[in-house]
Symmetry: none
Subunit: 227 residues, 2 copies
DNA sequence: AGCAAAGGTTAAAAAAATGTAAAAATGCGA
DNA sequence: TCGCATTTTTACATTTTTTTAACCTTTGCT
């Protein structure tokens, strides 16, 4: 599922330029044109990274930075005016993760975005491989191996199984699964989940008695492990 | 194994401060108090990163930077005086990897050190030659040898194959490939990748059953090796 | 038991992704 | 600048996945 970037910037030329590059790079982008809207957009959009101009209408970048930091450890990159070294210090004290001076090189900015995201990922490493009794899921190679045999599996099924198995015994509602596997912008029928579960069960049937895809009646599904 | 940092700095207050923080961060630290000693210390210490002041006794930072660059691609971070933007230009032309202006925030400097080290790790480690069963790719000479026969291949195809084969079994999305092979600033259609894959497949068809270019439906492509 | 709501199953429709060929554009050396 | 090789775009056919919708079965409750 793609990452989200919130751009807080009043100059629409800069903002659209960034939208272009980040969009191409696989980000979902939202633009907040002033400091007042930034906070509401942040809550709504739940971005993975924030690009934050300092000179903003309504509420300045420092304030926005502090507001966001008070509720989230999301990486923040400040866009500062050239040569303002005091901004730099200020920004790092406010909890920003990095800063770039305007006019900035887009290439450099993109590199820094990837850098802060990598840094966060390194802090909370997302394991892309799972291994249970007779079940191996590898989301790097997109391979599902059941009882030693490689099973050809469509991507949605794979991601669904991976998501469930990542939190064994935890129940997910259909809507949670649609949000977390299909993406927050998916608006289809929740029965879709049932169909995918059924297809997964066919592939996994009778392989192991240590785990299974279990229906929790009236709630949702879970990857149940016994022991 | 811990990394080594060489600090070339005549102000012992700054140097010791850096030793303290870098030491805490797991670096082995050596301090060269002037440009003359820097080169000898460099040869002796073989650091993984160099922090280089510009204003130095005996021999200035530019000269030291050039000397080091002539013998090594080690990351160099320049410590420049405040506001001297010409230093920045100069430094990057001399082959420095980054710069920070004094007075600097230690937290920031540490972050930048990690950044340049990551960058080097990402750039360098790739062997420019690859060899799988009946397949030899050499990106130094741009030669592709399949089953002992040299196959005339355009550069983009070669780079694409090389990139895929460099991480066998890992799936790359089309956008990843465009970023990593074509460059982050490429804005073309992702179907371009498909066309290159097809041409590569023509050239590689039926050569070996130990590997192939595999489509991962809904995700991307991978260089799959069986074993 | 009987009812309503939830879940299972299935097949067909719809949507999305890919393979392929050919045309168009680009870049580069003669 | 021309001509050629490479790269990119476009269009269309084909394949595969995903979604929808219908119908059937199970569950929980009175």
């Amino acid at each position: 599922m793609s990452k989200r970037a919130l751009i807080v910037e009043d100059d629409s030329n800069i903002a659209e330029l960034l939208r272009l590059y980040l969009g191409k790079d696989g980000f979902e982008v939202m633009i907040a044109p002033d400091g007042g809207k930034a906070e509401a957009d942040f809550d709504l959009f739940q971005p993975d990274v924030v690009l934050l101009d300092i000179m903003l209408p309504v509420k300045d970048g420092w304030q926005v930075c502090r507001d966001i930091r008070s509720k989230s450890m999301v990486p923040i990159i400040m866009l500062t005016a050239k040569g303002e070294t005091s901004d730099k210090i200020n920004g790092l004290e406010m909890g920003a993760d990095d800063y770039v001076t305007k006019p900035f090189d887009v290439k450099e900015l993109i590199a820094r975005i990837h850098a802060v995201l990598r840094r966060k990922d390194a802090d909370a490493p997302v394991e892309k491989k799972l291994n249970y009794d007779k079940l191996v899921i590898n989301l790097d190679s997109y391979e599902l191996v059941v009882d030693g045999k490689k099973i050809d599996t469509p991507p949605k099924e794979m991601e669904l199984l991976f998501h469930l198995a990542s939190s064994p015994n935890r129940v997910f509602t259909r809507n949670q699964l649609l949000d977390e596997v299909w993406g927050f912008d998916y608006f289809g029928d929740s029965r879709t989940v049932d169909v995918h579960i059924k297809r997964l069960r066919e592939k996994l049937e009778g392989v192991s008695d240590k785990w299974c895809l279990k229906t929790v009646w009236g709630v949702g599904y879970k990857f149940e492990v016994t022991e």
